[in-house]
Symmetry: C2
Subunit: 446 residues, 2 copies
Amino acid sequence: MASYVLDNGFFLLNDGSGRLVRGSLRVENGKIAKIARSIPKVKGEKRTDLAGQTVIPGFVQTHVHLCQTLFRNFADDLELLDWLRERIWPFEGAHNEKSLYASARLGIAELLAGGTTSILDMGTVRHTDAIFEAAKSMGIRAFIGKCLMDRDDNPPTLRESTKAALHENLELLQRWHGQANDRLRYASAPRFLLSCTEGLMRELKGLSDANEMIVHSHSSESRAEVEAIRKLYGSENIEAFHRLGLTGPRLVLAHCIHLSEAEKKILAETSTRVSHCPSSNLKLASGLCSTPELRKLGVSVSLGADGAPCNNNLNMFQEMRLASLLQKPHHGPTAMPARDVFEMATIEGARALGIEKDAGSLEIGKKADLVAIDLLEPSVAVEASEKEPEHVYSALVYSASPQCVRQTWVDGRSVFRAGSYPGTTVREIVLEAMRERKKLFARLRK
Amino acid sequence: MASYVLDNGFFLLNDGSGRLVRGSLRVENGKIAKIARSIPKVKGEKRTDLAGQTVIPGFVQTHVHLCQTLFRNFADDLELLDWLRERIWPFEGAHNEKSLYASARLGIAELLAGGTTSILDMGTVRHTDAIFEAAKSMGIRAFIGKCLMDRDDNPPTLRESTKAALHENLELLQRWHGQANDRLRYASAPRFLLSCTEGLMRELKGLSDANEMIVHSHSSESRAEVEAIRKLYGSENIEAFHRLGLTGPRLVLAHCIHLSEAEKKILAETSTRVSHCPSSNLKLASGLCSTPELRKLGVSVSLGADGAPCNNNLNMFQEMRLASLLQKPHHGPTAMPARDVFEMATIEGARALGIEKDAGSLEIGKKADLVAIDLLEPSVAVEASEKEPEHVYSALVYSASPQCVRQTWVDGRSVFRAGSYPGTTVREIVLEAMRERKKLFARLRK
């Protein structure tokens, strides 16, 4: 890939310095090669005028379900178990390759348009290739795994044998891990301990070590789940993960709301990663993860939007805003200040996925996963200034929205610009999704 | 004004029926004249194809501070008293006519672009004409009042004598109440009981009765305020309003978080209006208003974004979403379902302002305060259907954003369309606001 230069921007480095640098940025071979007040012209090199826009590192969402995007606004105001049993599980079970591809594309379209450049995705049980294909063509950085559900008491449309589950899991790992210039990775996704046998969980440990593979699961989301785990495992949720050998820096657990003191200590001591999903936790009435407390203990906490039907957006601006605001009534108005939250949404997410050397900040040699933000939208109206970067952090966390996103790059490639995606239009993606949703619901009624 | 017809839309009536009607809507003399499957052509009458967009009644925000819009992202992550004393009060005190006009225009631009067509605004102490002028020229329906602060212990840049406060209050009432075809009204705005003398509050009662004038104040926002009221009045906050004769359907109180059972009963029995401001209550760490409980007691609860620096948006979609989501962890996932919240954002707001015969729903004879929403944004992707209006309610409350707003009308006049306002551009409004903010901060440093 040829090199190019972005001129006349403000670059929020997010390298720990808090600095906002006015000037230019050069991308070479998909990586950040230079950031400086001015970059001399090189013949034939393309230059783009950012006209004062602010460039940030792309957001990293550490818990999403692209397979559920089609079900948005079709599963609301319901009890958690009704939500799963009457809607989400039957819906997931009715997916075919085409509907899953359309669901993933719609989700990725929203993610890229909202400045998210990396995701950790939990698929459904079947057709996982379709999610990889969508991520491959749309250009997002994605860790994806088929959902593992091998216990007998799983819903019949989704459950499978331990052997079949592990077999396909391995096949997908071999097929996709490291593809597209390492932009795609496989991440095993046991749904939660209640869905999986101990035997399966123990196998994943070896697979994770041998392949430097993320294991992605849910934990301690609802009180009912915590109770059920106690009955099944005779221990708390995180203790069970720990005993199975899975805790550690390659385990990413969504939610972690209802935790004992001993469990918090395990998370901190093993560097297990927590993905906080504030909108989803509200919508499903799950409760509130005490992120200031976890962070104080040294636990790595990043952010995710979860699935579209329990959010109902895939919008990191919204998750950042809530990750800050929700803690304030409990911990005071100075809790979770804007800069801390912005770091959770970027570099902490990169750490959770083990890609902190490649993503999460604007530093020389990192991959060019960038987002150009216009802070002159009337809902923001902040002029960036090197002297007062704190107003830019406030603007990004408390006021900005996908409406401010002008362009998104992954690996230096433009993947979203002014409402368009390379090779397709937003309308085409939305219309395909709505067609496939209709067909999926028709299959369900049969 | 000539009549015109909007064709090929879905009209969410919001008249209590829950119906979504496909077809056309005619506007005559600024009012809704007809809604039908099809409306026969009349020679010379303009027709606009909505291409399947959903038309809703404009949102009614019952608590905003347009004077604070300039301070957005300049007063974050602070304790409440620091926030007021070190930022908001000095900032308000430094306003001149030009900066206040720019602040109000910027706020109104965001409001109209986000589908809000009516507001109840609390100004600052001086230059209230500038807010009226901005509302007049931008075309929003607005109840506006100068902020009343006549106690001696108010900050010196804002306090004034009781006589001076009441004198200007009356002058503004006489100058603006009913102007612009009754689109502008005066609403007296005693800041809160801690800012005002009993004598002033008693005068407002007579003024309100004689002029059918709203009284707009804050109450029971923080525990410290509740404590201070107890010391000053020897009673709870709402009890003090009640004793002063002010409770009733023309009193709109923002927040109402920390209430005794007796106070809740007073609110219900007197039909006093509560304006719930969920984002602001989180950001200032105030707490959570128990809206399901108040509604069960029969209290009218509507919504407002409060000021930009404590939100940091003026976005009714966001307030609706939070008004639902925040209650679910406390009252279960079925609490505050989408349709109830949509009604709070529209018809309940109209009731609070006494304009329910003119606004808040799409009914024949009501003023044409309309918003055209495109639900095909990728972050929503819902096809409207007469048979399943519940998905449209979900989409509006849980997924939609100002990005979906295509056009806004007030009194049948188009006041926002595709990023533009009649007679001006969004950039002009934003740049003027940023210029005036710089000058205001320069005045403060002197």
